[in-house]
């Protein structure tokens, strides 16, 4: 049986379930926008995110806006009623812009280039906690978090641990992604939140979605 074959039979992602999952991600994207707005001290115009649900190994072609060699991802594992990894993915330009604004905002005269990685790791940490933490209210169950992990390179480099290949094959089976377009002042920033769910979690999620109908 190919990787992911079992859930393919067991899990049906119909429109109603997709809507429920999309709403869960929307909550996080909305909070992410709010957090970025607070951090950079500017009004953030948040567009409705494009939600994609697919097998983890098929997620790369759906992330069409994240191209090039300078992609940044901050991921964080979480466990609880749902388990998996959530990642904030942005391109290098957006990262530089956010950090530049952030340093201005807190009155820090440090070099943005040297502080960028740490600053973006912290932003990713805040955004992922906002996303998954908000779910704790939906599921009435707390989540525990791993440490944030910073990766930089091509999109494939950044997401390699979660794509369901190699040793992880079959463990992380499903990717839910939402690309949010922010406008900060006159600048355009694109960030994507991706959550890689394990098989048990995606089934839990589908069950919860069915109960909502």
């Amino acid at each position: 049986m190919p990787a992911g074959g079992r859930w393919r039979k067991a899990v049906i992602v119909d429109d109603a379930r997709k809507e429920f999952i999309a709403e869960l991600l929307n909550i996080g994207v909305g909070r992410a926008g709010s957090v970025v707005s607070e951090l950079v001290g500017a009004r953030v115009v948040l567009e409705v995110p494009d939600i994609e649900i697919c097998r983890s190994q098929d997620v790369l072609p759906t992330l069409t806006a994240l191209r090039g060699d300078d992609i940044i991802a901050v991921s964080q594992g979480f466990t609880g009623v749902l388990g998996g990894d959530a990642a904030l993915v942005i391109n290098g330009f957006s990262g530089n812009l956010i950090v530049h604004r952030l340093l201005q905002q807190i009155g820090d005269d440090g070099d943005p280039a040297t502080m960028r990685d740490e600053a973006i790791t912290e932003i990713g940490n805040i955004v992922v906690n906002s996303l998954v933490g908000a779910w704790s209210k939906v599921f009435c169950d707390p989540f525990d978090f791993g440490l944030p992990v910073f990766r930089r390179g091509t999109l494939e480099d950044c997401l390699a641990p979660f794509l369901g290949t190699g040793g992880d094959q079959g463990r992380k089976t499903y990717a839910v992604s939402g690309s949010a377009h922010f406008s900060v002042n006159d600048f355009f920033i694109m960030g994507t939140l991706i959550v890689f769910f394990d098989e048990k979690s995606i089934e839990t999620l589908m069950g919860a979605a069915a109960e909502q109908r």
């Binding site: 957090v35 607070e38 951090l39 807190i106 009155g107 820090d108 440090g110 502080m115 740490e118 600053a119 790791t121 912290e122 940490n125 805040i126 992922v128 906690n129 906002s130 933490g133 908000a134 704790s136 209210k137 707390p142 989540f143 978090f145 791993g146 440490l147 944030p148």
Partner: protein
Amino acid sequence: MAKVLVIDDSGFQRRWITRTLTALGHETIEAVNGLEGLRVAGAERPDCITVDLNMPEMDGIAFLGNLKSGETPIPVIVITANIQDDTRKLCTELGAAAFLNKPFKPTELEQALSACLPAEDGGKP
């Protein structure tokens, strides 16, 4: 002016917190995790501590538990990205004096410090 120990594994976040505290007129010392935080707290006897929760070696929850069992209580302000109510409750049970979510506003930290510190160190008279 108070001496405040800032415990966070993120250098960026430590810089952010220490800049805020310095601007408020306080002295700061730093530690990168709970284990180092306990050592520095014992050696330096700060007036107040800010601590992150999610850290390697020893996290903020374990730090609070260890500090609580110590002899002299030092007020602790938790500054974390974790927004969950259960986490806030646990920190309160472990003796945290205040709980702030990242990104915090300088006024929030100022108010939390004011509530923790004696009047001569910048607390409420």
